[in-house]
């Protein structure tokens, strides 16, 4: 019977056998399973590019080129770690400047975060990513220094403070939004 299924799939059965074989396949679960298996084998044999092994190698190929794809605009003369922390520093300022009261942001769980490379590529850093780096910074004094050396956080805080004088409706306190939201 298996030979007949195989022949059916290859179009080698005559019309009477075809009808007979199809009827049997319809009625017998075991034959239906054979039928599916043969189709699967046939698909794999006919389309080697779609086989599991090839999918794996195509992913490997993607992975090989991925870093290049993701980080085209990191200045080469800079150590990328330093650059990352520099961004973290400026981001710290952004978060610092605006999230004093939104301090919970700092504690947001680090789930579903974009990779740092993606962040750099997009030039858009989620506060949580900054948090990640800030946490790392606490463990490494070296990084801490980098943050301190970077003038941007302080500057942005200065800017925020200076800007705060012009908010027309200040709510409960003029520091609700400006001063009050820096970590």
């Amino acid at each position: 019977m298996k030979d007949k299924i195989s022949a059916l799939m290859d179009g080698e059965l005559d019309s009477i056998d075809v009808a007979d074989t199809i009827t049997q396949i319809k009625e017998t679960e075991e034959l239906r399973n054979e039928w599916s298996t043969y189709h699967l084998i046939g698909d794999v044999l006919r389309q080697p590019a779609m086989s599991t092994a090839d999918i794996a190698s195509s992913i490997r190929n993607e992975l090989d080129i991925e870093p290049t794809v993701l980080t085209p605009d990191i200045p080469r003369e800079k150590n990328s770690q330093v650059f990352a922390f520099a961004i973290a520093a400026s981001m710290l300022a952004a978060v610092a400047a605006v999230s004093w009261m939104g301090g919970q942001t700092i504690n947001r769980p680090l789930t579903d975060e974009p990779s740092l490379q993606a962040v750099i590529k997009n030039k858009f850093v989620e506060p949580t990513v900054t948090t990640d780096l800030v946490l790392a910074q606490k463990e490494e004094p070296k990084t801490d220094k980098l943050v301190l050396q970077d003038p941007e956080p302080i500057r942005l805080n200065d800017y925020m403070f200076a800007h705060g004088e012009f908010t027309a409706i200040r709510g409960v306190s003029p520091y609700m939004r400006t001063v009050a939201r820096r970590p």
Binding site: F83, A86, I87, A89, S90, M91, A94, V95, A97, V98, S99, W100, M101, G102, G103, Q104, T105, I106, N107, R108, K123, F124, V125, E126, P127, D150, P151, E152, I154, R155, L156, N157, D158, Y159, M160, F161, A162, H163, E165, F166, T167, A168, I169, R170, G171, V172, S173, P174, Y175, M176, R177, V179, A180, R181, R182, P183
Partner: protein, 322 residues
């Protein structure tokens, strides 16, 4: 009666309603200068919320205030008139800042609320109770997408703002609300003292900001302003630890303010990493370079607005900055 007359009447009615709403807005601005209060408020934005305690006292020496964040890492703001100290006990850090423009805080506001009607539809929309206080609800509905709408809940008796929501269409961008409040209470001065610093032995005092300001032409212009915005102030500031003045142009639509800071890139003060800053609450920040200057635009407006303003900054003489 012709429709023209009806329309005319309607606009008179609208104008008077708007005028009444503006009286409420002025009460909001004036209330903290006259009132003592203590309370707990909740601030929320970006799906996060934080609870703070505020103690506010006014006497013949001025205005004094302490805000203490009750969630997460402890933080405090202590304000004595125009001097503001921020405490970060876990970092053993104290930041002292002084207000430059407004000598005695809050001094006169730079023409606030005056041209509101160009950009917002100002409406009184009924009464609601907040923290057991009867409040008048005022809505400032943005006429376009270049600004946020605001909904304000004002204590009928005192004019104190008890709840405020910044809205982008139907979405709340940020909000604060009092959950507990006592107005005109006797304030124990002890409550205005920082709670942490006395316990901490080492305190780093960082970043004292003295914003020296000089009125004058900066040689910068902002073309293509979003409708409703106009320049309300232009100064040079010297920030702490810096020698080069920073240009500071402030724009306002009567409610929302946008500040443009222009600083020259120098050897001592090189170009830092300027990236796109994510929005936090209602504040958006946008930085770009113009020639050998960094232009940073900050405002409680949608991102599109800081970007348009930032991109419209042009120089016609850059000598002062060199």
């Amino acid at each position: 009666m012709s429709t023209g007359t009806l329309g005319g009447l309607q606009s008179v009615v609208n104008a008077s309603a708007s005028k009444e709403a503006q009286v409420w807005l002025q009460r909001i601005v004036d209330a903290p200068r006259k009132l003592n209060y203590t309370g707990i408020f909740v601030y929320s934005s970006d799906g996060h919320m934080e609870t703070s305690r505020v103690v506010h006292m006014v006497n013949n020496e001025g205005e004094f205030e302490r805000i203490e964040v009750l969630d997460g890492s402890p933080r405090e703001v202590i304000r004595n008139n125009n001097e503001v100290k921020r405490y970060f006990p876990d970092r053993k850090t104290l930041v002292t800042e002084k207000r430059g423009l407004q000598k005695f805080f809050p001094a006169l506001l730079p023409k606030p609320l005056s041209n509101l009607n160009n950009s917002y539809i100002v409406k009184k929309v009924g009464r609601e109770r907040i923290s057991d206080y009867e409040c008048q609800v005022i809505v400032l509905e943005a006429k376009d997408r270049m600004r946020y709408s605001q909904k304000l809940w004002v204590d009928v008796a005192t004019g104190l703002l008890l709840k405020a929501a910044v809205m982008e269409r139907d979405q709340v961008v940020e909000q604060f609300v009092f959950t507990q409040l006592e107005i005109d209470s006797e304030i124990d001065k002890e409550l205005l003292k920082p709670g942490y610093v006395t316990k901490s032995t080492e305190v780093n005092i960082t970043n004292p900001v003295i914003s020296g300001t000089v009125k004058g032409e900066l040689g910068w212009e902002i073309e293509n302003l979003p409708s409703g915005f106009s320049k309300i102030n232009e100064v040079r500031r010297i920030f702490s630890g810096k020698t080069t003045p920073v240009g500071h142009i402030t724009l306002s639509d009567g409610l929302a303010a946008v500040s443009v800071f222009i600083r020259p890139i120098t050897k001592d003060d090189p170009l830092g990493p300027h990236e796109s800053y994510p929005q936090q609450g209602a504040i958006n920040i946008y930085a770009r370079t113009v020639g050998k200057n960094v232009v940073t635009t900050i405002g409680e407006v949608p991102r599109v607005t800081v970007v348009q303003i930032g991109n419209s900054v042009k120089t016609y003489k850059i000598k002062w900055a060199e």
